[in-house]
């Protein structure tokens, strides 16, 4: 009884070893045999020939949340409208109403954004 899944355990161990053994061999080789010749330029992070300027941790303006909302409205709506349209003929009244409420909620967000003037590009 307890040996039913034993082949799976063996396979799992083999799969792990298949991934880990070459990695550890490569690591061992690099650790003990590979010649090292580091220098300041080689150890720098950016590798396109130019000296990096500034910081990678730039701050984005919080005003971008508006674009995130607009994106959400159209993207999420499309994701849900597709199965809705496919299954439309077989849907019950309640499901239809729920979907309409959902769409209306998103349209409300769009109307709000529109009224706020976000859709007009400066």
């Amino acid at each position: 009884m307890s040996f039913t899944y034993f082949p799976l355990v063996v396979l799992f161990a083999a799969a792990l070893a298949f991934g880990l053994v070459p990695l550890s061999l490569a690591w061992t080789w690099a650790r003990f045999f590979s010649p090292r010749k580091p220098n300041a330029v080689k150890n720098s992070i950016y590798e396109c020939g130019l000296v990096s300027k500034g910081d990678a941790w730039v701050r984005f303006r919080s005003a971008y949340y508006l674009y995130a909302i607009i994106f959400l409205i159209f993207d999420v709506e499309a994701v849900f409208l597709m199965p809705f349209a496919v299954a439309f003929t077989g849907l019950s009244m309640a499901a239809c109403a729920a979907m309409l409420v959902f769409v209306l909620l998103l349209v409300e967000g769009l109307a709000w954004a529109w009224a706020k003037g976000i859709l007009t590009w400066a």
Binding site: P35, K37, S44, E47, G49, L50
Partner: protein, 204 residues
């Protein structure tokens, strides 16, 4: 330990293969030289042609052009090195892992070529980094690049692993960083790396 070449060939005919660790090591090194994906000017077009199906650089184990200097062994200076670009070339060379090799491809890379008199062109990349193989031509045909590559392979194969001529990665004392020139008021500073290149004396 050296093997008598005639004895080696004779034994090979009998089906006995004899080799040395050095030969095996160098055979592995020369058969997997990965060039850097790095084109500077018109010679780069010939370099691209060399990697494609007609000339097929892959036959020599060099088909993987790495877009990162960390993974590349060979830098093909394919074209005009402007003074604006030279610091970047030297910096990329410094970022390559040892052992690293350089092929200067075409007239511009080896001497400045037709733009030698220009104010903005470096008169040969060997002023800053050690070049292993120079190829003349404007631009050199893909066959010339193949020839240069085979020359480089022969050079790698012949490198002894011990002694004063051993490859740089096995020599703890060897120079690993080459100074990156900076843009000066009129020219790059310094104008050449004296450890690599000596200014020729003009005798009139």
């Amino acid at each position: 330990m050296a093997i008598d070449q005639e004895l080696k060939i004779e034994m090979g005919k009998q089906g006995v293969v004899v080799t040395t660790l050095q030969e095996l090591y160098n055979w592995g090194r020369k058969s997997s030289v990965w060039p850097m994906q790095f084109g500077l000017a018109c010679c780069a077009i010939e370099m691209i042609a060399t990697t494609m199906a007609r000339y097929d650089l892959a036959r020599f184990g060099a088909e993987v052009f790495r877009p990162s200097p960390r993974q590349a062994d060979l830098m093909i200076i394919s074209g005009t090195v402007t003074k604006k670009m030279a610091p970047q070339v030297v910096r990329l060379y410094n970022q390559m892992g040892e052992p690293r090799y350089v092929i200067a491809m075409g007239a511009c890379a080896i001497s400045g070529g037709p733009f030698k008199q220009g104010y903005n062109v470096l008169k040969g990349i060997d002023r800053y980094i050690p070049v292993d193989v120079h190829i003349p031509g404007c631009p050199p045909r893909p066959e010339a690049l193949l020839q240069a590559f085979i020359t480089l392979q022969n050079k790698i194969q012949a490198q002894p692993l011990t002694g004063p001529n051993r490859p740089r990665h096995l020599d703890a004392e060897a120079q690993g960083e080459f100074p990156v020139p900076v843009q000066g008021e009129h020219d790059l500073e310094p104008t050449s790396n004296p450890g690599v290149w000596t200014v020729p004396v003009v005798i009139r």
